[in-house]
């Protein structure tokens, strides 16, 4: 029904529509230089981009050459080219990205006509659904395309909820909670990912489940960080239920020791500190000595007393001891029993044992965070003043910028409500701290918009906003004191200050987070845990191997960071990192032990670089066999930044596929692609790349044959470059270092900003990549170039899209 109406509309408006479609066509001659068809060699398949192009544009031009151009020519030119039936329409002007943008043809309308199937008219065979889709995708990309020399638009920064990793590491740095021991992010719901990363602000949502878990985690964090609440002072607490060996219960409680024995009880010391133990005791005298009472803690005697007091007036025997935190066994022993039948009997009565303390604050061993949190209160007079000082100082760290009066007042209201409800001062302060940990000012990183009503307004991040952006990029955690200081004195806002902090932070062990989280997601190492390698097909694949694979990639990336290495090593290198298990897997001899070391690879080795690491080869496999398509896609997407469009649904059965035999071999299956025009355009690029890895099985082991047949790792790239094995591929990729550096820049910028890169980011990406190349392709130069970019240091608002 809908189609009918639209078609009628189309026929009715054919002339008008054609005019719209052509837009300015025929009015003004757009820049002639751009509309002239380029020599075929320039944009021929898989060539280097021209100097004024970036890789993205070159890729779009190439796709035009291969697919879109012929398609438009076949289906549109007859009517809509300058010499076409419909006269002056000029669709022939579209020969690449730039000419399409300047041709005057209304690309949106063209896309609409093609994707809805309204054009070409039903009277002639049109493009297939998949062809229409490819054309629509190409047109979308061209419409959005921003040339690399356009002015830089920094884009927006959506309030960024700390993701699980950031939450865990921030608690570590804020409160000293070691995530390897207690991971409070464990129960938080998984973060969804976007653009391949789990730190994309727009994707990080907060559900009620998350709020509940944040609340519980905040409560636990405060208790863990500060230790239990303790009452300081001489506040004796009798041990309950004293038990006796060789004794009998006394009527008013306690134990009567009639022979060598002891009265025992337990005391839970909330913290390590100085305590006072008091024993209320008396003797029944006999012989020439007083009864002796030995006092033990956890079986170790701490002192002994001579008990002279008698039953009618028991004595109190006191000792000051240092107790460790936890349950302590406290016992009073009768040391000198004396007994002469019917004549003399010395006994010891233990009425009560009590423990008081810790007796003074100075003696108490507090966790790291205790002094950090309470130090600011030193010198404050009175509970409320103290609370204000503590909460204000904590808020400044938790909110990652100086606390305002408003911040502190809000926290103080929580404190007061607690006090009014009968809580102790310390309890109420703790609740205030808990509140700060669920405040959106802690859980979210936001930037203040000077002009909230105007989304287009641009502004620089202030020093604290920049400090947080930097620390979450490099450390996945909050700024440290030095970074806060650089924000406070404004030095962070200068290029030199920002560079200096970046370099310092990259040398800090906390930059391991960048390796783990950026490299772990870019190379998809994290998927190793989820990938279901079939153990029956690959009995060698176990937890240790998987862990070793992950570690290799992390060591490699971490080493580039630490040694100022070139990112081109990620494509190809003559070294890698292995332990014994991984070396065995790779067939490398002479490596023993579990620890990782850098090894130099033999000349001609297929290892080196990330693509032939076990981790990457495994992640890009199916559970029981390799997947050249996935491997090809990994290279095109993660290394070259030119992922092909996804396959169409309802792929028709390949010609030889239906049958009752076993699944066809991988290469056989792929060969069928080239015979089908709908598949060939993409698979001509994907398959030869993927097949060049065929010497590696699904868990990255070298192999010469499969099922008794020798491995064939040859292929021909579009453009005629022949590949024989993966080292050929690495050479081709190394020749395209510009494109690789741009791709890596785009991935890292995504991670650094916590948002997907948009077409308007291309100039910034280009700029950063050029700068990185000029600095020896060093990984640290790439990071510094990102940090110093306009995009990282400024922002604008975002239009609200309904």
């Amino acid at each position: 029904m809908r189609m009918c109406r639209r078609s009628l509309f189309w026929f009715g408006c054919l002339c008008a529509g054609a005019a719209v479609l052509l837009g300015l066509g025929g009015l003004a001659d757009p820049q002639p230089a751009l509309v002239q068809p380029r020599p075929a060699a320039v944009a021929s398949p898989d060539q280097q981009p021209r100097p004024d192009q970036d890789a993205h544009e070159a890729e779009l031009d190439q796709r035009f050459q291969e697919v879109i151009g012929p398609l438009l020519k076949k289906h549109c030119h007859e009517c809509h080219a300058a010499d076409g039936i419909k006269g002056e329409m000029g669709m022939e002007r579209i020969v690449d990205v730039r000419s399409a943008q300047s041709s005057g043809v209304d690309l949106r309308l063209l896309r609409e006509m093609l994707s809805t199937g309204e054009m070409p008219p039903d009277t002639r065979p049109g493009p297939t659904e998949h062809e229409r889709l490819l054309a629509a995708q190409w047109l979308d990309a061209v419409i959005a395309y921003v040339p690399p020399d356009a002015p830089i638009d920094p884009g927006w920064m959506t309030p960024h909820r700390l993701n699980r990793t950031e939450y865990r590491l921030t608690l570590r740095d804020l409160l000293g909670i070691d995530p390897r021991r207690i991971d409070l992010s464990q129960r938080l719901p998984r973060d969804d990912t976007g653009y391949g990363f789990d730190n994309i602000a727009d994707v990080l949502t907060t559900s009620p489940l998350a709020v509940e878990e944040y609340l519980a985690a905040a409560e636990k964090a405060v208790e863990l960080a500060l230790g239990p609440e303790v009452e300081i002072g001489d506040n004796p607490k009798p041990l309950k239920a004293l038990k006796g060996d060789n004794g009998q219960p006394l009527p008013r409680g306690g134990v009567f020791l009639y022979s060598a024995g002891a009265a025992r009880g337990e005391y839970v010391a909330p913290v390590e500190g100085q305590y006072i133990i008091r024993v209320r005791a008396w003797e029944t005298p006999a012989g020439d000595e007083r009864a002796r009472l030995g006092l033990r803690v956890d079986g170790e005697q701490v002192t002994w007393f001579e008990v002279a007091a008698q039953r009618d007036e028991p004595g109190e025997y006191t000792v000051s001891v240092r107790l460790k935190a936890g349950e302590r066994r406290i016992s009073a022993h009768f040391l000198n029993d004396y007994y002469v039948r019917d004549k003399a009997d010395r006994n010891l009565g233990i009425e009560r044992i009590s423990v008081a303390g810790p007796v003074d604050e100075a003696s108490v061993v507090r966790p790291w965070a205790w002094s950090k949190v309470f130090a600011p209160a030193a010198g404050a007079n009175g509970d409320e003043a103290q609370a204000r000082a503590v909460l204000g100082a904590f808020a400044a760290r938790a909110y990652r910028r100086p606390a305002t009066d408003e911040d502190v007042d809000a926290l103080l209201r929580v404190y007061r409500a607690e006090r009014e409800g009968g809580a102790t001062h310390e309890r109420a302060v703790r609740t205030g701290l808990t509140a700060a940990l669920v405040s959106p000012r802690f859980l979210f990183r936001t930037i203040r918009h000077p002009d909230p009503a105007n989304p287009a307004a641009r502004y620089r991040l202030d020093a604290y906003e920049l400090a947080s952006r930097l620390s979450y990029f490099l450390w996945s955690s909050m700024p440290d004191e030095e970074l806060f200081a650089a924000a406070a004195d404004g030095s962070l806002l200068t290029d030199e200050g920002l560079s200096a902090q970046t370099r310092r932070m990259l040398k800090d062990p906390r930059s391991a987070a960048l390796v783990e989280n950026f490299a772990g997601q870019w190379l998809q190492l994290r998927n190793l845990d989820a990938i279901a390698i079939d153990r029956a097909s690959y009995p060698d694949y176990d937890e240790q191997l998987r862990e070793a694979m992950r570690r290799e990639a992390e060591f490699f990336f971490g080493d580039l960071l630490a040694m100022d290495g070139s990112v081109l090593a990620l494509i190809s290198s003559d070294y890698t990192f292995v332990n014994e298990r991984l070396a065995r897997h790779y067939g490398i001899e002479g490596v023993t032990g579990n620890e990782f070391r850098r090894i130099t690879l033999d000349a001609g080795s297929a290892r080196g670089g990330v693509l032939t690491m076990g981790a990457v080869l495994t992640i890009t496999s199916n559970p029981s066999r390799t997947s050249p398509v996935k491997r090809g896609l990994f290279v095109l997407d993660q290394i070259l930044g030119t992922p092909p469009p996804p396959p169409p649904a309802d792929i028709p059965p390949l010609e030889q596929a239906p049958g009752t035999g076993p699944e066809p071999s991988v290469r056989e299956q792929l060969a069928a692609h080239t015979t089908m025009p709908g598949c060939a355009a993409c698979h001509n690029r994907l398959d030869p790349i993927g097949l060049s890895f065929e010497n590696f099985d699904a868990i990255g082991r070298w192999r010469e044959s499969e099922n008794g047949r020798p491995i064939d790792a040859t292929g021909v790239l579009p453009g005629g470059v022949a590949l024989s094995g993966v080292n050929d591929l690495k050479r081709v990729l190394s020749d395209r270092s510009d494109q690789f550096v741009e791709t890596l820049t785009a991935k890292m910028l995504t991670y650094a900003l916590g948002r997907g890169v948009e077409p308007f980011d291309r100039p910034a990406i280009r700029h950063i990549a050029v700068r990185t190349r000029a600095n020896g392709d060093r990984l640290t130069a790439l990071i510094e170039s990102i940090v110093l970019s306009e995009t990282f240091r400024t922002a604008r608002g975002k239009e609200l899209r309904r």
Partner: protein
């Protein structure tokens, strides 16, 4: 302490051995709510209707699924064979379509769209993240009405987290493939994968019960603070940014209301006397069964009346070693006509149906009032793709178990082609006592009796 013990004794045993007439055991609020809701029920009288939505990824091999027509009922196709024992409790519903899982101009991404629109009926906006937009899901619509009666408005479960890196489907964010439950257009509701965490969420951590009251009032004051802080922070933000914090605020409010309710009732959640799960089992069947058990417990104890369960994320490439399937599910689903692969897909489909059948059986064995829990439940089972090889979204594989709200079971309900799946949702809402005029692309309720 004694009080807790006696409640535990009453609740002893899981499923079969557990005689739990919900009326006797219910907290006063639930009883009051049941009186209000009563209208929907028939024979069961006042028992509330429970709604569950079980999602199966990657479509099925439809030839083996398609029910065989039989007089007054459905004949069991090879894939539906495991329903033998419970066939009188189940309806097979054919002819349903998920129009908004289709490309409709958005190109590839059927897996993302099928999970995204399965319960929302909406066309998910194609984005890898910067502009996520879907719609409110049917379970959350139901939870908005039914949720106020129970401690948890809804429970979201799943057997797989989904990829931790990389892209999920053709330019769609993983938020679309990993979640079927959506609280509002831009906020998916995450699922719980670990049965131990699910148990704790349902019944709380018993060790903390003592300090509960004090803790609740403290939490209340902390959340009041959070709400005030959110508002004050929003003042300095643009409208797009504010929306992000609105999400947080809404979630905080929900937890605050839950705390309010808990304080009024001063009644610790009643943990049934069954062993708490120890974590995620190695075997997939055990994992699925355990999550189904959690769902059953949640319904049985009236902790929630609305739940979703994702057997896996859409596009899942997991293997099924316990039934001898060593290739990935998604890989196999694109069999391109290969017989061996088709046979494996059928085995996976049957495996899923077996898990569901077991759940239905347990619901049917759990007494409630004068009938069973199944009499008061409606459990939808299915997915948003029909044939996994073709990625088509008409003739969806859909089953509906249970007689909640008076639905008649044991039938084959055939619909004209292209009947919106959302029509079924309208009927389910109606039976649960929270009718709506329309939902998604619905055109009117389906007749279920």
């Amino acid at each position: 302490m004694n009080g807790r013990l006696s409640r535990r004794t009453v609740l002893r045993g899981l499923g079969v051995s557990m005689a739990l007439p919900w009326l006797e055991c219910m907290t006063p609020r639930a009883a009051a709510a049941a009186r209000v809701i009563g209208g929907g029920g028939a024979a069961a009288g006042a028992a509330p209707v429970r709604l569950a939505f079980v999602f199966m990824p990657n479509g099925v091999n439809y030839e083996a699924w398609a029910p065989v027509k039989a007089a007054g009922a459905f004949g069991l196709s090879p894939t539906l064979k495991p329903l033998e024992a419970v066939r009188s409790h189940v309806n097979v519903i054919t002819g349903l379509t998920l129009q908004n899982a289709r490309a409709n101009g958005d190109g590839p991404g059927d897996h993302a769209r099928s999970s995204a629109s399965f319960l929302t009926g909406q066309q998910a906006r194609k984005t890898a993240g910067n502009d996520i937009r879907n719609g409110v899901s049917i379970d959350q619509v139901a939870a908005a009405s039914l949720g106020a009666q129970t401690r948890l408005p809804s429970l979201e479960l799943g057997c797989e987290h989904g990829p931790a890196a990389g892209n999920c489907d053709s330019g769609y964010s993983c938020a679309y493939t990993s979640n079927i439950s959506w609280r509002d257009a831009s906020t998916p509701v995450p699922k719980i994968v670990d049965p131990a965490l699910a148990f704790e969420r349902l019944f709380g951590d018993a060790t903390q019960a003592a300090a509960a009251a004090e803790r609740l009032s403290r939490r209340k004051s902390v959340l009041d603070f959070v709400l005030a802080e959110t508002q004050s922070l929003e003042a300095s933000l643009g409208s797009h940014d504010r929306r992000k914090l609105d999400q947080y605020q809404t979630s905080v409010r929900e937890i605050e209301q839950r705390i309010e309710r808990a304080r009024r009732e001063s009644d610790a959640p009643k943990a049934p006397d069954v062993p708490a799960p120890a974590g995620i089992p190695e075997r997939i069947s055990e994992h699925m069964d355990l999550l189904f058990d959690m769902l059953l417990l949640a319904f049985q104890t009236d902790t929630t009346r609305v739940s979703t369960l994702m057997l896996a994320v859409d596009g899942s490439n997991r293997t099924f070693p316990e039934i001898g399937i060593r290739d990935g599910h998604h890989h196999l689903s694109h069999h391109q006509g290969n017989h061996e692969m088709i046979e494996k897909i059928r085995r996976i489909d049957r495996f899923h149906v077996e898990r569901f059948a077991r759940f239905v059986q347990r619901l049917a064995e759990t007494p409630e009032g004068e009938g069973t829990l199944l009499d008061n439940s409606l459990v939808l089972f299915g997915g948003g793709i029909s044939d996994g090889n073709r990625h088509n979204h008409e003739d969806l594989p859909i089953l509906l178990a249970g007689r909640g709200g008076g639905v008649e079971t044991g039938r084959l309900i055939e619909n004209p082609r292209e009947t919106p799946l959302c029509n079924l949702y309208l009927s389910m809402l109606e039976r649960a006592g929270c009718p709506r005029e329309n939902f998604g692309d619905s055109t009117g309720p389906l007749a279920l009796s």
